[in-house]
C-alpha cells in the first residue's frame, strides 16, 4: 500500500547516500591533497561543494513536499524530520572539507615542518565514523553505537595530540607558528567533522527509538543498557 509514498521515502535515502558519498570523497581528497600538496585536487574539492549545497536544497524541498502532501506520522515522520538534520550535517562536513582544501592552497609553497601523521589518522577516523553513521541511517540499525562513541573519543584524543605537537614545534621555532596554527585548525576541522558524523548517528538513534540522547553523556553502563534493549526489541 502507498507504493508511490514508499518510493519517495526510499528515493530520499538513496539521495542522502549519494550526498554522503560525495562528501566522504571530498573529505578524503582534501586531506590527501594536504599530504601530497596537490593544489589541483584541493581546487576540485572546493568546486564539488556546489554539488553538495544543491543536493541539500533539493532534498529540503522534496521533504517539505512530502510533509505537505502525505501527512507523515510515526516512523515516517521521524525519518523525514531527521532528513533535515542529516543533510545539514553533511553540508557542514563538506564545508569543512572545503576549509581544509583552502589551507592546502595556502601552504602549497611551503616545506612542512614535519611529516603529517596524526592529521591523516584523524581524517581516517572521521571518515570511518561518517561511513558508520550513514550505514546506520540506511539500515536503521544502532547496534554499532559503542564503536561510534569510541571513534569520537579517538578523534578528540588525536586532535589533542595534534595541538600539543604543533604547540611544541611552534615553541621550538617561531617560524613554525603559521604552519603550526594551520595544522591545529585542520585538526579542529576534522574534530568538528567527527561531531557532525556523531550528530547523524544521534539522529538515527531518534529514528529508531523515538528518543534523543547526547552521546557526550553516555557512560559504559548506559551503552550496555541501550544495546541490550535494542537486542531484546529485535
Amino acid at each position: 500500500m502507498r507504493s508511490e509514498y514508499n518510493e519517495e521515502l526510499l528515493k530520499i535515502k538513496e539521495e542522502i547516500l549519494l550526498m554522503s558519498t560525495i562528501t566522504e570523497k571530498m573529505l578524503s581528497d582534501s586531506v590527501f591533497a594536504l599530504n601530497s600538496k596537490d593544489v589541483e585536487l584541493a581546487k576540485t574539492v572546493i568546486d564539488r561543494d556546489d554539488l553538495v549545497d544543491a543536493k541539500e536544497i533539493e532534498l529540503q524541498l522534496v521533504v517539505s513536499k512530502i510533509i505537505a502532501t502525505q501527512g507523515p506520522v510515526a516512523t515516517d515522520l521521524r525519518r523525514l524530520a531527521s532528513t533535515y538534520k542529516i543533510i545539514t550535517n553533511l553540508e557542514r562536513i563538506a564545508d569543512l572539507a572545503v576549509n581544509i582544501s583552502k589551507r592546502v592552497i595556502e601552504l602549497a609553497e611551503e616545506v612542512y615542518m614535519k611529516p603529517l601523521i596524526d592529521i591523516p589518522l584523524e581524517c581516517e577516523l572521521a571518515e570511518k565514523l561518517l561511513k558508520l553513521s550513514i550505514q546506520a541511517f540506511i539500515s536503521e540499525d544502532i547496534s554499532r553505537l559503542r564503536e561510534v562513541v569510541d571513534l569520537e573519543n579517538e578523534i578528540d584524543d588525536t586532535n589533542e595530540a595534534i595541538n600539543s605537537e604543533c604547540m611544541a614545534y611552534m615553541m621550538k621555532d617561531t617560524k613554525n607558528i603559521h604552519q603550526g596554527t594551520v595544522f591545529c585548525l585542520i585538526g579542529g576541522y576534522l574534530e568538528r567533522i567527527g561531531d557532525h558524523a556523531t550528530n547523524i548517528f544521534e539522529t538515527v538513534f531518534y529514528i529508531v527509538t523515538g528518543d534523543y540522547i547526547d552521546f557526550n553523556d553516555l557512560d559504559e553502563q548506559t551503552i550496555s543498557e541501550i544495546l541490550g534493549l535494542e537486542q531484546t526489541q529485535k
Binding site: V73, A74, R78
Partner: protein, 251 residues
C-alpha cells in the same frame, strides 16, 4: 491526577453471534478530547454508542462488562433519559429539526419543562455563543434551521447538545460531511469546549485526531490495540499495527 469520567472494564459486545467489541478496558478523563481511530468496522462507533446506551435501540445487542460513568455502571439500574442528557451526541450528518434555529435549541429544554421565555432566550444565546454560531444567526433566529450551511447546521447540532447542559459530548465523525473551513471551525470549537465538557470523537482523519485530541485510542477488529497520549501515538506508537494503520500501510 485527572478525574476519570468513564471507566470501561472488560466490555464485550455482541450483535447476535458476532462479537463487535472484545474486552475493552479504557479510562477516559474529564475535560479532555479523546479520539477513537481505526478502520471501518473496527468497533469504534459501536463503543461510542455504548457510552450513552444508544445500542439499546438495537434488539440483537448483548453486552458484558462494566462502563462506570462517574460512580455508576451505566448498564445497571439507571435512568437512560438522564444518562443521554448528561452524555450528549453529535452525529456524522448534521440533523437539525425542521423548525426554526431558536426552536432547535429550545426544544430539548422545553421538553424538560423549562417554560420561562427569558430563561429560554438566555439559554439559546449562551448555547449558540458557545458553539461559535451566535454572531452568524442572531438576526435570523426564527428562520428555518434547514436554510443554514452544512457547517452551520453541525454547529447548531452542537449548540442543541450544549443546551441540555451535558457533561460529555460524543461526536461520531462530526466533520466528515463538511468542507475544510467548516471543519476548522468545529475543531476550534472542540478545543474551546473541552474546558467545560469531556469530548469523545470518532474520526477517520488522522490529522484531525492529531490536531484536536489529547489522547487517542486505536481500535482494530473490536479491540483497543493502543491507547496513549496523542503526540506519542503519532510520533512513536508502541504497536506495529498502530504504526501500519496511521501511516496508511494497513492492508
Amino acid at each position: 491526577m485527572d478525574k476519570i469520567k468513564f471507566d470501561t472494564k472488560s466490555l464485550d459486545l455482541f450483535y447476535g453471534d458476532f462479537q463487535a467489541l472484545k474486552s475493552i478496558n479504557i479510562k477516559i478523563c474529564e475535560n479532555e478530547v479523546t479520539a477513537f481511530i481505526g478502520p471501518s468496522g473496527c468497533g469504534k462507533s459501536t463503543f461510542l454508542r455504548c457510552l450513552n446506551r444508544m445500542n439499546d435501540l438495537i434488539d440483537s445487542v448483548k453486552m458484558k462488562g462494566e462502563i462506570i460513568f462517574d460512580d455508576k455502571d451505566i448498564n445497571g439500574d439507571i435512568d437512560v433519559i438522564n444518562l443521554r442528557t448528561r452524555v450528549g451526541m453529535v452525529f456524522q450528518k448534521p440533523n437539525p429539526f425542521p423548525m426554526s434555529i431558536y426552536d432547535n435549541i429550545a426544544y430539548g429544554p422545553k421538553c424538560q419543562g423549562l417554560k420561562d421565555k427569558r430563561k429560554l432566550d438566555t439559554l439559546v444565546k449562551e448555547s449558540l455563543t458557545k458553539a461559535a454560531l451566535w454572531e452568524e444567526v442572531k438576526d435570523r433566529l426564527n428562520k428555518s434551521a434547514l436554510g443554514l450551511s452544512g457547517g452551520q447546521q453541525q454547529r447548531l447540532c452542537i449548540a442543541r447538545t450544549i443546551a441540555m447542559n451535558p457533561e460529555v459530548i460524543l461526536m461520531d465523525e462530526p466533520t466528515s460531511a463538511l468542507d475544510p473551513i467548516a471543519t476548522a471551525k468545529i475543531e476550534d470549537l472542540m478545543s474551546s469546549l473541552k474546558k467545560d465538557y469531556t469530548i469523545i470523537i470518532v474520526t477517520h482523519s488522522m490529522q484531525q485526531a492529531g490536531r484536536i485530541s489529547d489522547k487517542t485510542a486505536f481500535f482494530l477488529m473490536g479491540e483497543i490495540v493502543e491507547f496513549d497520549e496523542t503526540p506519542k501515538i503519532f510520533t512513536n506508537p508502541n504497536d506495529k499495527r498502530t504504526e501500519d494503520y496511521i501511516t496508511g500501510r494497513f492492508g
